[in-house]
Amino acid sequence: MMDDARPTGAAPALEIRGLVKQFGDKVAVAGLDLDVPSGSFFGLVGPNGAGKTTTLSMATGLLRPDAGEIRLHGVDVWHDLIETKKLVGILSDGVRLFDRLSGIQLVTYAGLLGGLPREVVAERAADLLQLLDLESAGGTLVVDYSAGMTKKIALACALVHAPRLLVLDEPFESVDPVSAANIRDILDGFVGSGGTVIVSSHAMDLVQRMCDHVAVIAEGRVLASGTTDEVRAGSTLEDRFVELVGGRRAGGGPEWLRLS
């Protein structure tokens, strides 16, 4: 299915140098450098407001950076947006979907917008709905979906044009465990066939089990990056994360909150 989309040469899937983004007075991303090797399953972790979503939006051509350089499989993202968008599939957190379409219509729409022929879209849309346990809900309007179903249909939209790089912002939020396991299988298969996946998540256990590479981001900078084993350095990813980011409090909460 993706034979024509093999990585060529040794260019990293994503290469970011000196990325800066400011909203008013607030610096969201402060000179961030990041390398995501081609064919890796890459986890991006960080506290709330660390700049994960902002970084991923800029890396996929949705938000214009103030400064810095982003290359996606060797393509300069902000000089060749069209080429970038063919390479990458995105699941954004916190944007709406065209939710007055039925599930199957929405996936079809995403496929046709990407310029795929109608027959190819029809075949892939059917496959995707089946893979994501959405077959029976294909005719229901997305506005009537549950939160987890909405996530899954958005994932289908990100997959339909068979990208080389998948960027998933919080893909497992409010997804039930069975569907989450199915999604993980799909992503593992995708990485196994040479694709690259970047996920941002708060679920450290999940990232530690799932990802072979990981980067810890806080206050718009990368604190640590490398293979998962390198970054966690013998302890669990969660402990290492807390150690890097800081902000843990000692003690058991305020006096008045203790019942005895």
Binding site: G61, R100, V143
Partner: protein, 523 residues
């Protein structure tokens, strides 16, 4: 607790305003407008003090009843009640219902409409300054009247939300009540004519209204002034009883709403197939068109502008004041074309952040523009042209046909082009998907109206050539000018359409990320 709720209300308003200086400007202008009306009303009420009791009574009772009716029913019709402190959001807090009721009522009175109403109601005291006892009664009655207004508005909203919930019910209701709302203008005009013919019956009407729950409280001071204490007492009882019944009904509705917080409806029976996606060409532009046309049917925000169309002839006939003469009907075709052609000038804003999908998939600006125009043109072009034919057939003005077609075609094509340009460049504060089509962000309604008028003005200039030739043809009766207008409409319109799509598409290609960022700020 009550003070906390009231503070919360102002804090929410203030924070909402701080997000955009332009909204602030709009709110200030809106406030000045309200102030102007208020000054006029107060002056009028003071002036009534010099009139005979009968005249003052009639005016105060009718205006007061209209005020209570408006407060009670308009919020349900428009869903436009100021829900900054929404009961549904307070469900999780342990607030006793009586305190909640008082808090919500006070914060209702302290809104801009509440303050305006209070000042106007208290100004009735000045109407009765020659009768101290009546003036005293007016103060008490004004307080009761204002409370009736505010509680009435909250009550009906609470009751309606008990009766129905769920997306479909809400949307259907929004559309059904829209019709009387648009017809409000013609209805008022009709009432005016009726009354101006029969001015002497007004006092009688007022006397009847004074016995209804809506008018009773406003009649009390007048009857005190006239020395009719028995009648005043009865009217006062009716007024107080109304307030009590409203409050009890509100309490019941609110308690019910707090017990059963909003929940989403279970998924309805599924539709099969691809709908319009199977009909339009399988290209990006075709997909955009299929999506847009689906939204024209499924999204109440679009359906709203379609419902207006059949009412255009009614408007034209009422406002033209025709007496059996059907000639004004000829303008219906061009008006419908005008409304439809500009209906997509805020199309990207209606997408809200769902627009991100277009950016993610790298849709070119031209494909995006063409798709949106195509979806509209599919029904707008035949609908407008058929309307022109139908009206000309009705009026028998066949010599005007080429000119009318010229204006209509020109308006449609130039309007498509203009909309393509505007929606690719600007983002407006329109209701978000799923919100009521009438919900306006603070100040958003104002800036939207302003930009709408600006767009209308520009379109009027763009179709000036067609318009001039068509009018020359109507006036002179020389049909050849009509044909020139039609030729101009097709040629000039086509050129403007191509320019609009190209320039709008280029702007879109260049500024796509900025467009998305603006949409995200609005969210």
């Amino acid at each position: 607790m009550v003070a906390t709720l009231v503070r919360l209300r102002f804090l929410l308003l203030w924070n909402a305003l701080q997000r955009s200086p332009w909204q602030m400007v709009a709110v200030v202008i809106g406030g000045l407008y309200g102030l102007g009306i208020l000054i006029g009303v107060v002056a009028g009420l003071v002036g009534l003090g010099f009139a005979p009791i009968d005249v003052a009574r009639t005016a105060v009772v009718l205006a007061g009843a209209a005020l209570v009716l408006g407060w009670t029913f308009l919020p349900v019709l428009t869903s436009g009640i100021d829900q900054t402190v929404e009961p549904a959001r307070l469900v999780a807090f342990p607030i006793p219902i009586p305190k909640l009721l008082v808090g919500l009522a006070v914060s209702g009175v302290l809104g801009v409409p509440g303050i305006v109403t209070s000042v106007a109601a208290l100004a009735t005291t000045l109407t009765w300054w020659r009768y101290p006892l009546a003036a005293l009664a007016a103060v008490v009655c004004a307080v009761i009247g204002v409370l009736t207004c505010v509680i009435g508005s909250r009550m009906l909203v609470a009751l309606v939300s008990v009766i129905g919930e769920g997306r479909r019910f809400r949307e259907a209701k929004g559309l059904v009540v829209f019709i009387p709302l648009i017809l409000l203008g013609p209805i008022i005009l009709g009432l005016q004519r009726l009354l101006s013919d029969d001015f002497d019956s007004l006092p009688q009407i007022a006397s009847i209204v004074a016995w209804t729950p809506f008018g009773a409280i406003w009649a009390v001071p007048a009857d005190v002034a006239a020395g009719q204490f028995g009648r005043a007492g009865l009217e006062f009882l009716i007024g107080v009883a109304t307030l009590v019944v409203f409050a009890l009904a509100w309490r019941w509705g609110l308690a019910k709403a707090l017990e059963t917080p909003a929940r989403s409806m279970p998924a309805k029976a599924a539709k099969r197939g691809l709908g319009f996606f199977g009909v339009f060409p399988g290209t990006p532009a075709g997909a955009v068109a299929a999506r847009a046309l689906t939204y024209w049917i499924r999204d109440p925000r679009y359906a709203q502008s379609l419902i207006t169309l059949p009412l255009v002839p009614v408007f034209v006939l009422v406002y033209a004041g025709s007496n059996g003469d059907l000639t004004p009907l000829n303008s219906v075709g061009p008006i419908i074309a005008f409304l439809l052609a500009l209906s997509i000038y805020a199309d990207v804003s209606y997408d809200n952040t769902a627009f991100a999908l277009h950016l993610q998939r790298g849709v070119s600006g031209r494909d995006d523009r063409i798709g949106r125009v195509l979806a509209l043109a599919v029904f707008a072009v035949p609908l407008s042209l058929l309307t022109v034919l139908a009206t000309v057939w009705l009026t028998g003005a066949w010599t005007a046909l080429p000119g009318l077609l010229g204006i209509t075609v020109g308006v449609l094509l130039s309007g498509f082009g203009l909309s393509s340009l505007v929606s690719g460049r600007f983002v407006f504060a329109v209701p978000a998907p799923g919100e009521s089509p009438f919900k306006s962000k603070p100040g958003g309604g104002f800036s939207l109206t302003l930009s709408l008028f600006a767009t209308w003005g520009i379109l009027a200039v763009l179709v000036l050539p067609e318009l001039v030739f068509a009018i020359v043809s109507f006036v002179s009766g020389q049909i050849v000018y009509g044909w020139i207008s039609l030729a101009l409409g097709i040629l000039l319109g086509a050129v403007l359409l191509v320019i609009g799509i190209r320039v709008g598409g280029d702007i879109y290609d260049r500024r796509g990320p900025e467009l998305l960022a603006a949409l995200q700020r609005l969210k």
